[in-house]
């Protein structure tokens, strides 16, 4: 039987028709839930990411003769790996090309800039061959190119995603409800090296709490309850504090309580964080502006307002 990869290759454009490929991917704003969860017979580290479609990466792949891949500069090694892996997956003879990356995602804040570049690059290479890769294939290639990748390539549903295994642990039955997130960088100028930090070692109690949070998240999505979603995010952020402390968490929790935000969310590897507001509750715009004023006064640099 032909593998799915072979079938896709069969659909690729002939070599003479290869064109400049374009791929895009969006950012995220850290996590709604992060922890370790039972999956099959074991426990895996996994995340539910908050998508941030306002920012993104765009990659062009200009096919060229030869085998070399020309990158925009240093710091794009993972993009280069992704391009090579994708070329290899699509054809038996890896070919070269030039990669152009445009991105407005801030780096080192935990907003998925790296995964976004990698995902856009994979899509651009596929596009240059006139094909579209399946989501599973994009996830597989992105995980190979990075040590761990975010789930930004999964755009049509909410998933609990094992970022090191590159595996969907659970697909939730409903989409995210509309919510407003006031984002900030809690430690401007001190980006986190995503790969340098070791995976959190959660204790038994935390593992138990994650079971409850996973259940609560299912319920929150099922009934579109932003209040409950905010509580899940807050509980997750509090646990994360023991493993990757966020210097502004206490301040954000304080502001959230004062203005009546639904919750606080943080990045699993980064300094970005946000206050979650429920636009179904009256008076939310004034809550947001009061929170914004307090965040500014405290010296946090705002990353924007996500209204999704």
């Amino acid at each position: 039987m032909l593998s799915s990869t072979h079938r896709r290759v069969a659909r690729c454009l002939p070599a003479q028709q290869r064109r400049v490929g374009i791929g895009t991917a969006h950012a995220h704003h850290g996590e709604l839930l992060q922890g370790a969860f039972s999956h099959g017979d074991g426990v895996v580290h996994a995340l539910v990411t908050l998508p941030y479609p306002a920012l993104g990466s765009r990659v062009e792949f200009h096919p060229a003769a030869g085998t070399g891949v020309e990158l925009p500069g240093p710091g794009y090694e993972k993009v280069g790996r992704a391009v090579e892996l994708t070329l290899r997956a699509l054809s038996d003879e890896p070919r070269g090309g030039r990669v152009v990356v445009t991105s407005d995602i801030p780096r080192g804040l935990g907003m998925g800039s790296s995964t976004s570049d990698v995902t856009a690059a994979i899509r651009a290479v596929a596009d240059s061959r006139g094909t579209v890769l399946s989501e599973e294939e994009v996830v597989r290639l992105a995980t190979l190119a990075e040590v761990a990748c975010d789930s930004i390539m999964i755009t049509d549903r909410v998933v609990l995603f094992a970022h090191r295994a590159g595996e969907v642990v659970e697909t939730f039955k409903a989409a995210l409800p509309r919510m407003v997130v006031l984002g900030c960088d809690t430690d401007p100028g001190n980006p986190v090296d995503t790969l340098a930090h070791t995976p959190a070692r959660y204790d038994d109690h935390e593992l138990t709490v994650f079971r409850v949070l996973r259940g609560a998240l299912r319920r929150a999505l099922e009934i579109g309850d932003v209040g409950l979603l905010g509580r899940v995010a807050t509980a997750s952020a509090r646990i994360n504090q023991r493993h990757l402390p966020n210097r502004a968490l206490d301040l954000l929790l304080d502001i959230a309580a004062q203005v009546g935000a639904a919750g606080v969310q943080v990045a699993h590897s980064g300094t970005v964080a946000g206050l979650i507001f429920d636009p179904a509750r009256p008076g939310w715009p004034s809550r947001v502006s009061r929170a914004r004023a307090r965040m500014r006064a405290a010296g946090l640099s705002l990353t924007g307002v996500l209204d999704a």
Partner: protein, 348 residues
């Protein structure tokens, strides 16, 4: 979603979440004690505490013993339960049928049945090469096992504003509440006890209502979990058990009735709060008592109705003669009992 279970112990630990009013849900268990019994024995197995010849021993004459017996019957393990003569005959037959050995002690001159049971348990353990005692009153895996309940509540109801349940070992209420509060820190916890139980400060005394309350203080009872404590009489609990049956067709035991009495009142008083109530076991064991009008009348426990609301008391240490409530305020037992002593001192 329909699901199959690997065996009965896995099935019995899952509560059915049943709506009793717009803002009140019952967690109906066939046998709630299956949760800690199964968790503790499986954990012991994983930790290598159970050799093939290890005998499980425990002092209990109640539903925890039944849950242990079901589990040991399924796993082919010997079980010895040390009980007092109060064990009911129907339960005894069931335990024996499951292969458990039930030893009944007679009261010691000092310390009553409880100390006689503990002494006999120690003797049994000395006489056998390998034993394991689950120790539901002190084993931290008892409260921990109730993560399952918190998980079910979170997934089915989302934000639970108030949890009501009977208190005996402290495992279910403390374990469930602690985890619910990881999502909803302000979640109100209401413990339901029997008058003449020492759990929340009253002196020990004779109790007709069994399955909740205690003559000893279990280490697993974390008093700082509770926002308020209610005590009720056997007659009130029995009447509420019958009302739960008549109004909702839920055939449960008297500890469920006691919890329902309090939860129904709380839900009425707090229409905007979502209340969940633990209903730990079914009514079959009580057909000849709680569900028998002649027996109730003969014992002087027949009530036409229950009070609409509890009497609010400001001293937790004085036993009452009707349903009463006390604002515990998440304090330690020492804080509350010492506070009561000071009030008394001041009154003199």
């Amino acid at each position: 979603m329909a699901t199959s279970f690997p065996d009965v112990t896995a099935a019995y630990q899952i509560p059915k979440v049943i709506r009793l009013a717009d803002n009140l849900y019952g967690l109906c268990f066939t046998l709630m004690k299956m949760i800690p019994a199964r968790h503790i024995l499986r954990r012991a197995e994983e930790d290598g505490l159970l050799e093939p010849e290890t005998v499980v021993v425990e002092t209990t004459s109640g539903t925890f013993g039944l849950a242990l017996a079901m589990h040991t019957a399924r796993t082919g393990r010997r079980l010895i339960l040390v009980s007092d003569p109060a064990v009911d005959e129907r339960l005894l037959r069931r335990l024996t049928d499951l292969g458990a050995v039930v030893e009944r002690v007679s009261a010691a001159a000092r310390g009553g049945y409880q100390s006689a049971r503990l002494r006999r348990l120690a003797e049994i353990r000395r006489s056998l090469p390998s034993t394991y005692c689950p120790e539901q009153y002190s084993n931290p895996d008892n409260p921990r096992s109730y993560a399952l309940v918190a998980e079910v509540l979170a997934e089915t109801l989302g934000q639970v504003d108030c949890l009501v349940g009977p208190v005996g070992s402290g495992g279910s209420m403390c374990g469930t509440t602690r985890l619910l509060r990881s999502v909803v820190p302000e979640c109100t916890a209401i413990g339901v006890d029997s008058h003449h139980s020492v759990l929340f400060g009253q002196p020990d005394g004779p109790r007709v209502l069994r399955g909740l309350g205690n003559s000893l203080l279990p280490p697993n009872l974390d008093h700082t979990v509770f926002d308020s404590v209610h005590w009720c009489t056997a007659a009130e609990a029995f009447r509420a058990t019958r009302e739960l049956h008549r109004e909702h067709a839920l055939f449960m035991g008297p500890t469920s009735g006691a919890a329902y009495l309090v939860a129904r009142w709380y839900a009425r008083e707090h229409p905007d709060a979502l209340t969940a109530v633990l209903l730990p076991d079914e009514g079959f064991r009580y057909l000849d008592t709680v569900y028998d009008d002649a027996w109730l009348a003969g014992e002087g426990l027949a009530l036409e109705s229950v009070p609409d609301a509890p009497v609010v008391v400001d001293d937790a240490t004085v036993p009452g003669t009707r349903w009463s409530a006390f604002a515990w305020g998440r304090r330690t037992r020492a804080e509350v009992v010492a506070g009561a002593a000071e009030v008394l001192e001041g009154a003199r």
